[in-house]
């Protein structure tokens, strides 16, 4: 692998067991006499190279395999076939609020996620940085996350994932929820990170966002990468879908 390729995916196929319709419990298994699972292939033979410092937009309809691709790159899902080679570290993938524990307070969530991610020991100011960037007050961070508005959750989630100083930033539709001020701030921060050489993978349904952040993009359909090119080209292709 050459020095400037940070992610290399070769012939990756991912399939899942899917519950056969109607078999969700042991009771169903006994009464319906169907095999409980069928295998469904989500990603077909995907190949993808991402260069260090590149920012790649991933577009596609719902269910085309975008999130599965991101999770495969992050090592959360192991491919049945093919190889994924990554030459860098990740920040947690934070889709809107996923990974936050609703019963815990903001601070407790921050310490938990930092410890799980392994940042706590490397960076002692991490908690302060997160509080500052999220613009959430001390009082709010002492409340359980279940009492937050969805915008506040997005602020917290995004700030935590940015606190990790990682080589690769994966963003799965986070920006859609914050208010305009915070969206602008996030876009600024992403551009800053980009300038500093962070590789960015950005999944979105909004071509405008992709155009603002990404140089290159891919379009996914039914588990295949159907189009690759510059962000402008792919955004046009994406809009042709509908």
């Amino acid at each position: 692998m050459s020095q400037d390729t940070i992610i290399k995916i070769e012939n990756v196929t991912i399939s899942f067991w899917q519950n056969n319709v109607g078999v969700y419990s042991l009771k169903d298994l006994i009464t319906q006499r169907k095999s409980p699972f069928k295998t469904k292939t989500i990603l077909h033979d995907i190949c993808l190279d991402v260069k260090r410092g590149d920012s790649l937009g991933i577009l596609g309809r719902n269910g085309s395999g975008k999130s599965t691709l991101l999770r495969t790159i992050a090592g959360i899902i192991k491919p049945q076939k093919g190889t994924v080679t990554v030459n860098g570290s990740f920040a947690p993938i934070l889709a809107i609020g996923a990974g936050l524990e609703l019963e815990l307070t903001g601070y407790e969530n921050i310490t938990l996620l930092l410890a799980l991610y392994g940042t706590a020991r490397r960076n002692t100011n991490a908690v302060d940085n997160i509080r500052e960037f999220s613009e959430l007050s001390d009082e709010v961070l002492r409340m359980p996350v279940k009492q937050y508005s969805s915008g506040m959750v997005a602020r917290l989630a995004f700030s935590i994932s940015l606190a990790n100083d990682s080589d690769i930033l994966i963003i799965d539709e986070v920006l859609a929820v914050g208010d305009q001020g915070f969206q602008a701030k996030c876009a600024d921060k992403i551009n800053q990170l980009k300038a500093a050489g962070t590789t960015i993978l950005f999944v979105s349904h909004f071509p405008e966002g992709v155009l603002k952040i990404c140089n290159n993009a891919i379009l996914m359909e039914g588990g295949h990468i159907t189009h690759r090119g510059t962000a402008q080209e792919i955004c046009k292709d994406y809009q042709m879908l509908f």
Binding site: Y24, L26, I77, L100, E103, L104, E108, A115, L116
Partner: protein, 248 residues
């Protein structure tokens, strides 16, 4: 090293979550065993002919409630952690493991309180009590094995939690906790002997209550059951774990 920090953070989260929004926190853990103790005293004490009946029952109850809490909490541990599992590259076995560890922490606190109070109930302080350390480690290994099995199967069949909740009380009454073993007629004892919990309760009682320490034979039985359960649990878990993400 990083994994130890992560497991510690998750276990700490469990302890915090468990006592969140409760006024008396940790002491809730004593409420259930105390209630059962009371029921046992009312129903069984008179006819049991057991000296130091309260010590006899309590030594069984604290181990049983460790087991019952830890399995009850762990069944849903993988399903309940879907957010974290989908966001971070973190091994799924951390979740049943941290549930087991946080419940073990609770058991240690309970045993300390038990040791202090039970002096009044007839507990004899002797170096033998130290044997409780290997005893609860074995019991925890057994529980972890069962937890791995339950939480991984529960991902695909969500009624495992409900089924387990039904089996538990049956197991409880099959285990000689409130009554002596001799209460079960000889031709039914096979049921008692098939119940793995029986051996661990007997081991704990041998340490806290009986006049003679537990036999080498009983220790061996507990080691075999604990290691065997762990191997089965780990095997099933490993077979299923790659499919978790799509199913939670």
């Amino acid at each position: 090293m990083q994994n130890i920090t992560r497991i510690y953070a998750l276990s700490k989260r469990n302890v915090i979550l468990r006592y969140k929004n409760s006024l008396v926190g940790f002491f809730w853990g004593f409420f259930k065993p105390l209630l059962y103790l009371l029921i046992f005293i009312i129903i069984f004490k008179q006819n049991s002919g057991i000296p130091h009946y309260i010590l006899f029952v309590t030594s069984g109850l604290i181990l049983w409630f460790f087991f019952s809490n830890v399995t009850g909490q762990s069944v849903g541990s993988v399903v309940g952690s879907s957010g974290l599992l989908k966001a971070l590259n973190i091994p799924a076995y951390f979740f049943p493991l941290s549930e087991t560890l946080s419940e073990l922490f609770n058991l240690v606190l309970t045993i300390i309180v038990f040791l202090i109070i039970m002096n009044w109930g007839g507990l004899v302080y002797s170096p033998r009590l130290l044997l409780i350390v290997p005893c609860i480690i074995l019991f925890a290994v057994f529980a972890l094995g069962l937890n791995l099995l339950l939480c991984s199967v529960n991902v695909f069949f969500r009624d495992i939690g409900i089924i387990w909740g039904t089996i538990q009380p049956a197991l409880f009454f099959l285990t000689p906790i409130g009554y002596p073993e001799s209460n079960i007629a000889p031709h039914y004892r096979i049921f008692m002997k098939c119940n793995p919990i029986y051996y661990f309760i007997k081991l704990g009682r041998g340490i806290f209550y009986d006049t003679t320490p537990p036999s080498m034979h009983l220790w061996m039985e507990c080691i075999i059951i604990a290691v065997g359960m762990y191997i089965i649990g780990q095997f099933v878990f490993n077979r299923l774990k790659n499919q978790f993400i799509s199913a939670i």
